[in-house]
């Protein structure tokens, strides 16, 4: 990614996300009133996070990339999530596991 592309993404995300927030204050309630539209927006993070997890874990560009250290690190993080560990513990355990496996 070039520096210019980076700035374009950062600035457009800033403007767009501000517009989304401001719209809620500025637009009439009825535009967003339909329950199904609301559930759609509320469920969006679930679909997005789930897809991101899969892609970040398994993909390298357009290929599958079965990297043992990453998979095991993610697995340890997943066990921590299962056991209700705090966010920072999950992240640290996953990183430390993958880093250690790569040192071996």
């Amino acid at each position: 990614m070039t520096t210019a592309t980076g700035w374009v993404v950062v600035l457009l995300s800033g403007v767009g996300c501000y517009a989304l927030k401001f719209a809620g204050y500025a637009m009439p309630q009825r535009w967003f009133g339909h329950p199904r539209l609301r559930s759609l927006i509320e469920l969006m993070p679930v679909a997005l996070l789930s897809a991101l997890i899969v892609v970040e874990t398994l993909a390298a560009g357009r290929h599958y990339d079965w990297n043992t250290a990453r998979l095991v690190g993610f697995g340890v993080g997943a066990i921590a999530v299962r056991r209700d560990a705090p966010f920072i513990v999950v992240v640290a355990l996953a990183a430390a596991t993958a880093a250690t496996l790569r040192l071996l």
Binding site: C17, P45, V46, V90
Partner: protein, 239 residues
């Protein structure tokens, strides 16, 4: 209550460090990473954009995913509008800090006066700590060098899982989401079964599309498929 607000801010700092590091490993500069936290200021979107770019996705795919995720802030704003009663520059500032944490804290109070206080204190604390943590995470990651050596490529999906998990359990996150959704027209109460199905379908679509489509598209496609899963046909006949 003010102590709670600051506590939320400090807790968010942990995510901020993770975002700063993830953004650097995606190829953004520390300055870009910081500006993102100052202007975009909605963690899920920022994480998603870094994630899609890190996976080799285009700017358009990254922004598409980011905006889809940022759309929930619109619902928060709708719900907060009558509570905060803001106009002019206060509305302009309030909009920037209308996010998960400030909304949840504001809606958790017994009366409108407390709600306003909770909103502004939480917003201020989260804004301060999120941006501070972003800088620390970004500079830290840059100083450490190759993110893979430190297992960041495993930490990022694990972080996403930690963010996803509460949404798949019966109660946890929807606490605030459910309050928010009570705004106009009640939402049918959702059990954990629906989000679980959505997560599963999203994951399957993403896995299937990895070798077929350009990077970034699997994530977008998973989001858009939601429109099919949830069946929006009844949108046309309003109750």
């Amino acid at each position: 209550m003010i102590r709670d607000a600051v506590g939320v801010g400090v807790a968010v700092g942990g995510y901020g460090v993770a975002f700063g590091a993830a953004s650097i490993s995606a190829g953004f500069s520390p300055a870009q990473t910081s500006v993102s936290s100052l202007l975009t200021f909605t963690g899920g979107t920022q994480f998603a954009i870094a994630g899609v770019i890190a996976g080799g996705g285009t700017a358009a795919a990254a922004l598409g995913s980011g905006y889809l995720l940022g759309a929930r802030n619109t619902l928060y704003a709708l719900r907060l509008k009558p509570v905060l009663g803001v106009r002019g520059w206060r509305r302009a500032v309030g909009a920037l800090v209308t996010i998960d944490e400030s909304t949840a804290m504001a809606l958790g109070q017994a009366n409108p006066g407390l709600s306003r206080l909770a909103f502004w204190w939480t917003a201020g604390a989260v804004y301060f700590f999120w941006n501070l943590a972003t800088v620390l995470g970004a500079l830290g990651a840059q100083a450490l060098g190759d993110p893979r050596r430190f297992g960041l490529d495993a930490a990022v999906p694990a972080a996403f899982l930690a963010l996803l998990a509460p949404r798949l359990r019966a109660r946890a996150v929807p606490d605030n989401a459910r309050d928010v959704s009570r705004g106009a027209g009640a939402v049918p109460r959702q059990t954990a079964a629906v989000p679980r199905r959505v997560a599963l379908v999203g994951a399957i679509i993403a896995v299937a599309l990895i070798p077929v489509t350009p990077p970034g598209v699997p994530v977008l496609a998973a989001c858009l498929s939601l429109a099919v899963v949830i069946d929006i046909r009844p949108l046309r006949r309003r109750p």
